[in-house]
Amino acid sequence: MTLLDIKNLNLSMRSFEGETQILHGIDLQVERGEIWGMVGETGSGKSLTGLSVSRLIPPATGRYLAGSIAFEGRDVLKASEKEMRTLRGRKIGMIFQDPTTNLNPVFRIGTQLVDVALHAGHADPTVLGLEPGASSRDLKKAAKRVSVEMLDKVGIPKAAERIHDYPHQFSGGMKQRVLIAMAMIGKPDLLIADEPTTALDVSVQAQILKLIHDLVAERNIGVLMITHNLGVVAQICSHVAVMYRGRILESGSVMDVLKRPSHVYTQALLNSIPTAHTKRGELRGLGGVMPEVQ
C-alpha cells in the first residue's frame, strides 16, 4: 500500500479580503524509503500541502474543495480529531522550520521530550518497548529512557545530562536536533520536514541532512521534505515535486527533474542559483509573484 497518497487536493483559505484558492489539484504519492522534496517559492503552497497531511490547517479558515489524502489507506481529511491525534506525533512526525520558536522556553528539554514520548506511549506502548497495557509508572520510566536514547541518537553529546537543560542553553543546530528527536520518538512511518535546515549554517545543515538520510536508510520510512533550496533536494532527495502557485508543475526522480527539467519554470529556478561557473550578471531571477486574491 502506498504510504501517502494525495489525490487532486484543492484547498482554499479565507481572509478578510475574500477566499483564495491556494492548492489547485495536488497529486503526490510517497512510498516507504523515498525522500520527496517539495520545492517552490514563498507562497507556492508547499507548506500548506505539508500541513494538510497532518491536518493542521485551521478549519475556520481552510476549506478543502475537493480531493483526498490517504495515509496507509485511511483518508486523513475524513478522520475524526481523535483519530488524528493517534496519527500526529505517532505515525506522522513533523519537523518545523524554526527551532527557536518550536520549543517552549520555560520547560526543560527533557520535559518536552518526555511529553511527546508519553503521548506516543499512551497510544501504543510498544513504541517505548513495553508490552501493551503497561502501567503508567512503567510508561513514565520508559519515556524518560527513550528520550535520552533519542537525544543521544541525534548526536547531542552527554544526552543524559543535557536533558535537564533549557532550550536557551542549546545552539540552533542542537535545538533542531531536539525537534528531530521529538519527531522520531513515536517511530513515525512518515516524516514531514518543513524547511528543517533553512535557519542553520551550512556545516550544521550537512549534519542534519545526514541524520535524516540515515534515518530513512535504517527505518525505511517515507519523508516529505519541504524546502526552497534545490541544493538540499539534489543532495538527499530521491524524488522531487516542483510547485508553483498551488500546482505541481513537474515531479519525478531527482535525476530526471534536476538533470533534464522538462518545465521552463524548473529550468528558470535552476538558473537562478549561483554556481561556480556563473559569471556576474548572468543570473536570471523570476520576480517572485504571489497568487492573487480572487
Binding site: A206, H213, G287
Partner: protein, 274 residues
C-alpha cells in the same frame, strides 16, 4: 579604501565583585584586512563567527579593544562625533531582514528620504528636490513611481530589500555594507537583487563589503573574500583562489558542506553507488 588593522574585540564577562569581571568573550581576534575601492569584498562565516561584530566596529557602533580601522587613511576610532556623522553619509548599510528594517508607519517616500533629512548639511535639498531624488532612486532599484506613498506591508520581501537598498543609496555613499542582504529571500528573488547590486556597482562605482554565509552568493558577487571562524580570519584572497584552491581545513569543510544543485555531486549518492 578601508583598512582594518589587528582589530580585536572582547565583550566583558559577568561582573564579579566591585571591579572585577569574569573572563570575557573574544568576538574578534587580531583581524586585519583591506578593501579596495570599487571592488566587492566578501566576508564568509557561520553564525557567531564575528561577522556582524566586525561591521558594527566599522560603523563605530562598538568600541575596539585593540587595533584600528582606517577609512581612506582616517582612523574611525579617533573621529569627532561631527566627523563621524559626515562619514556615515558616505558609508551606508543594508540590513539582513527586509521585514524588520523598514518602519511600518512610514511611507516609502519618507523611508528613503530619511537619510537625506539626517544628512541635510552634506546633501542640502529642498523638500521638492528630495522627492525627486527619492523617485530617481525608486526607478534605479527597479520600483515604480506609484509605489512612492505606499507602506512597507504592501511589498514583498524582494521589493522591501530594494527599498532598503534605495535608502542606503539616498545620500550618495561610496561604500556599502551589505549584511546578508539576500538570506531572507527566495533564490529566484535573490538572483534579481544580486543582479541589481551588480548593476548599481557598475553605474555608481560603489565599493561593497558583503557579508554572507552563502558561499555561492559570495562567489557570484565578490572579487575578494575572507573566511572568518570564531573571530579569527582563517583565509583571505581573490575569490577564484579561495574557491578553487582552499588551503585552510575550515574553508575546505565549508565548501564541501555547500549543497550543490547537481544530484551527481551529492555525498550520499556517491556513497550509495560506491
Amino acid at each position: 579604501m578601508l583598512q582594518i588593522n589587528n582589530v580585536s574585540k572582547i565583550f566583558l564577562g559577568q561582573r564579579k565583585g566591585l571591579f572585577g569581571h569574569t573572563e570575557g568573550f573574544k568576538a574578534l581576534d587580531d583581524v586585519s584586512l583591506r578593501v579596495a575601492k570599487g571592488k566587492s569584498f566578501g566576508l564568509v562565516g557561520e553564525s557567531g563567527s564575528g561577522k556582524t561584530t566586525l561591521t558594527r566596529c566599522i560603523l563605530r557602533l562598538e568600541t575596539l579593544t585593540s587595533g584600528n580601522i582606517l577609512y581612506e587613511g582616517a582612523d574611525i576610532g579617533k573621529l569627532t562625533p561631527t566627523e563621524m556623522r559626515r562619514l556615515r553619509a558616505r558609508l551606508q548599510i543594508v540590513f539582513q531582514d527586509p521585514y524588520a528594517s523598514l518602519d511600518p508607519r512610514m511611507t516609502i517616500h519618507d523611508i528613503i528620504a530619511e537619510p537625506l533629512v539626517i544628512h541635510r548639511d552634506i546633501v542640502p535639498m529642498t523638500a521638492r528636490q528630495r522627492t525627486e531624488r527619492v523617485l530617481e532612486l525608486l526607478l534605479q532599484v527597479g520600483l515604480r513611481e506609484e509605489h512612492l506613498f505606499r507602506y512597507p506591508h504592501e511589498f514583498s520581501g524582494g521589493q522591501r530589500q530594494r527599498i532598503g537598498i534605495a535608502r542606503a543609496l539616498a545620500a550618495k555613499p561610496e561604500f556599502l555594507i551589505l549584511d546578508e542582504p539576500t538570506s531572507a529571500l527566495d533564490v529566484s528573488v535573490q538572483a534579481d537583487v544580486l543582479n541589481l547590486l551588480h548593476r548599481l556597482q557598475e553605474e555608481l562605482g560603489l565599493t561593497y563589503f558583503f557579508i554572507s554565509h552563502d558561499l555561492g552568493v559570495i562567489r557570484y558577487i565578490c572579487d575578494e573574500v575572507a573566511v572568518i571562524y570564531r573571530g579569527k580570519l582563517v583565509e583571505s584572497g581573490p575569490v577564484e583562489d579561495i574557491f578553487e584552491r582552499p588551503t585552510n581545513e575550515y574553508t575546505r569543510m565549508l565548501l564541501d558542506a555547500m549543497p550543490d544543485p547537481d544530484p551527481d555531486r551529492s555525498p550520499f549518492r556517491q556513497a550509495a553507488s560506491a
